[in-house]
Symmetry: C2
Subunit: 185 residues, 2 copies
């Protein structure tokens, strides 16, 4: 389990409300750890009662009040302990791969449109990542040496970019294979 820890990291980078966290999980941190607002509110409540985070009511003009959370000492400790734990190999869930193998017992040609849609979604993601990179990580000459936090954020983003590029290349391979099978039949 790591949602708690993803939230701790996000709140250390910047304190915020449950709502704000939910939006960050739609971008940025959500690129490598997805979570819905329901899940976030539930976990925030637990983390608060465990003393990992502190809540502070913030009044806003022309908007509902929000509860701004920040990381407490116990939360920092919990994060440190978690960072020291060995990394377990992640368990894979790749639905598209199951469908591709399943297509042998259905109609391979029918998958083509779906794969194309899927490919478009990944193209979009890559575009978004690259825009984020240009925006948040300008070349060193203009910006000077970045701090550790930024360097680490950048290397994670580069991982996302590499993943999307690899995926797009593979999807082209998949499409070529499906076309070949469709024309053969």
């Amino acid at each position: 389990m790591a949602l708690e820890h993803a939230i701790l990291v996000s709140l250390l980078e910047q304190p915020g409300s449950g709502y704000e966290l939910a939006r960050r999980f739609e971008r940025s941190i959500g690129y490598f750890w997805a979570a819905t607002h329901q899940q976030i509110y539930r976990v925030l409540k637990r983390m608060e009662s465990d003393g990992w985070i502190d809540a502070r009511a913030v009044a806003q003009q022309a908007r509902p009040d929000k509860k701004e959370y920040s990381v407490a000492a116990a939360g920092r400790d919990a994060l440190s302990r978690w960072l020291d734990e060995p990394i377990e190999p992640e368990s894979v869930r790749h639905e598209l791969a199951v469908k591709i193998r399943g297509a042998a017992f259905g109609d391979p040609a029918a998958l083509i449109r779906e794969v194309e849609r899927y490919r478009e979604a990944h193209t979009e993601r890559l575009t978004r990542y690259l825009a984020g990179e240009r925006r948040d990580f300008p070349p060193v000459e203009t910006a000077g040496a970045p701090d550790a936090g930024r360097e680490l954020q950048h290397v994670v983003l580069r991982g996302g970019i590499a993943y999307e590029r690899m995926t797009l290349a593979w999807l082209d391979d998949v499409l070529a294979t499906l076309h070949r099978l469709a024309s053969r039949a």
Copy 2:
């Protein structure tokens, strides 16, 4: 949810017992859909009572009897219906990325050993995939044109290989970044 469907695909490729399926989920199909034997037995029971699969008791010499499952007509239908459903974008869970960003609030140098262990696990996986490719997908000249099922299995395996190569390259990037930060501090 796709465990049911992954099992259907696996049983269509080759009927087998729960135990055999569990072993396939440790190799082959498990490379892109992980499942433990507990989960598999539970789902098999449900699938049998839903009429998706048929069970047949098989006596074996010097071994406990096994229940061999094969896909029933209703199971084939269920698979077809599922293949026609649109593919939802997968939700990501990348624990290592969370840890890397978390390292900004701990000791980046301490992560190096963990990332190295992680890298080794992926090297091993790549080796396994490549061995599987050599074994199961010999060059066309020697084997003749493969059927659709094999072609599809091969393109999925190529995806796994591409993923592992991309991951290894990224982990080198991560390690270089962590070393740079460690030497700077």
